[in-house]
Amino acid sequence: MWRVVGLAGLLGAVGFAVIEGAGRALGVRTAMTPSLWLDGAAFALAGMGLAALYVQAWSRGGWARRVGAALAYVALFPFVTALLGGLAELTFLGGWGYGGFIREALLAGPINLLATFTLELGVVALPLGVVSVTLLLIAARSPRQTA
């Protein structure tokens, strides 16, 4: 399990770097917080959290369950990532005291990241999501190395 969760974190961080780079190249604002580190951490943690949720389905489930869990991983990734990004910004950079900031971080944020992943940078984000989840599926199904 931890091998898959660790890989998901790594893939999340790589995904962040690719999205950030593509956004800069195409002039699309993709940031969730003012900090690169917080954004990267949100991507990695979202990947790890979702992988922990679905690793059982990937490793032991039937064909339909594996595909369903893979689709759910891809669909939930932007929402969980943006939610973590919003919570990180509110916590580390202030804003819990203002209703407007909370609405922005927790409502506008997920919609923004979903739009980025589908409309603005869909050409990059969707293949990236498919590759990431395929690697996670393979890792979850491959037999564990024993000494």
Partner: protein, 418 residues
């Protein structure tokens, strides 16, 4: 036998009496249908279409002589194209909402009817109740062709939360505006979104003290103020502080603002309902645009005109409809639904609660004393396209502001001298 004949005769009369009664009823119904004059009304009030429909329904229900058929036919530009396609045909509407830069062209081409004889019959207290600049707008060459209804000025919108977070105040000068836009720009958002519409560029030039057309009707697109306005936009774009959208891309621009990817914008006060339509996750308000000493803002909106094909009956019916629309109660309903400026003084007290709810709603009204008409030459309609294209070329990085303005001036002069 006699009985038989008598029965046939009575049946005959019974049948014909019935037929006569039915025919008479039909004639009466038909006659009453003919007496009701139909007024087709083409408008561009997308964000206030429900209010327009409600007003029209109330007018139709209030009397039997006139029936208004209101149709939303697209943006001002789309309406203009559709009107030109229908011009002179049976499809031409009776009443048309002509954007104010298109209005002089319609008058110059003799496409609309003079209404002076009708407005001369209005009581003096009614005429004097209209805001003078808005009332005068419908007159050209001593004749009245346009009737005021929806008027606006450009205002500045901003994300209240973002400015609070950045610790900056809404800017009132162009120097402060530039600094504020840069201060708001971050990894997450651009400080300012600009739609390259000629009206907004005209606002920048006017507010800096310039004009796009001088008092003799000669274009002055290459003025120092125009260069300063375009250079400011160009520099903000180069620094990544400005998100630029073309004149026909206002929807993605609004979405960028709603998504908090851009934090300040210029637009008509009547665009507020467009923003409200989306679920805005932050507080939004509006205020006057930045202003240099001696600056002004251009009036916006439209004039209601009666098209040339309308019969005298239809013209009178359209005027009756406008007269009803221009009553203070109806105008108050209209302003609350559309956010346009009240065109009559007596409407303002009826809107106290509406403006008190958010003082930003009165931003356009507060600029009214600085508002001046758009250039009222027929060629200005074509100049709008020249300006839109000029901004595209500069803000997409294809040419410098100086070159673009010089080229735009050449094209505008060619239009005027054609």
């Amino acid at each position: 036998m006699i009985r038989w004949k008598s029965w046939i005769a009575s049946s005959f009369w019974t049948v014909w009496r019935r037929r006569f009664a039915v025919a008479l009823f039909g004639l009466l119904v038909g006659t009453s249908g003919v007496a009701q004059t139909e007024v087709t009304f083409w408008h561009s009030m997308d964000s206030a279409v429900e209010t327009v429909d409600a007003l029209v329904e109330a007018f139709n229900a209030s009397q039997d002589e006139v029936r208004v058929d209101a149709r939303f036919i697209g943006s001002y530009a789309e309406a203009q194209t559709r009107l030109l396609a229908a011009y002179g045909s049976a499809d031409e509407p009776v009443l048309f909402q002509a954007e104010i830069a298109f209005f002089p062209r319609l008058v110059a081409e003799g496409a609309v009817q003079p209404l002076t004889s009708l407005t001369n019959g209005l009581p003096a207290d009614v005429v004097n109740d209209f805001v003078p600049g808005l009332w005068a707008y419908g007159e050209l060459d001593g004749e009245r062709y346009g009737l005021p209804w929806n008027s606006s000025t450009p205002v500045m919108y901003w994300n209240v939360d973002a400015l609070r977070r950045a610790g900056v105040e809404p800017p009132t000068t162009w120097e402060a505006f530039e600094a504020t836009v840069d201060a708001l720009t971050s990894r997450q958002a651009q400080g300012f979104v600009f739609v390259g519409d000629s009206w907004l560029f005209e606002m920048m030039v006017l507010s800096l003290g310039g004009r796009l057309v001088d008092e003799n009707g000669v274009p002055t697109l290459d003025s120092a103020e125009a260069l300063r306005a375009l250079t400011l936009l160009d520099e903000l774009e180069a620094r990544g502080s400005l998100a630029f959208f073309g004149a026909n891309e206002s929807t993605p621009a609004i979405l960028g603002f709603v998504r908090t990817r851009s934090l300040m914008a210029f637009a008509s006060i009547a665009n507020w309902p467009d923003i409200r339509r989306f679920s805005v996750a932050f507080d939004v308000t509006a205020g006057p645009v930045p202003m240099a000493p001696g600056g002004a803002v251009p009036l916006g909106g439209a004039q209601l005109v009666v098209m040339g094909n309308a019969t005298a009956e239809e013209r009178d019916a359209a005027f009756a409809f406008w007269s009803w629309l221009a009553e203070p109660e109806q105008l108050a309903t209209w302003v609350e639904g559309s956010y346009y400026i009240p065109v009559r003084h007596s409407v303002v007290p009826l809107l106290d609660a509406f403006y008190a709810e958010d003082p930003g709603r009165a931003a356009a009204l507060s600029q009214l004393e600085l508002a001046i008409p758009r250039p009222r030459i027929p060629e200005f309609d074509a100049m709008r396209g020249i300006l839109d294209e000029m901004m595209e070329r500069v803000l997409r990085g294809r040419t410098s502001p100086e070159e673009a303005l010089a080229e735009a001036q050449r094209q505008a002069l060619a239009e005027v001298n054609r």
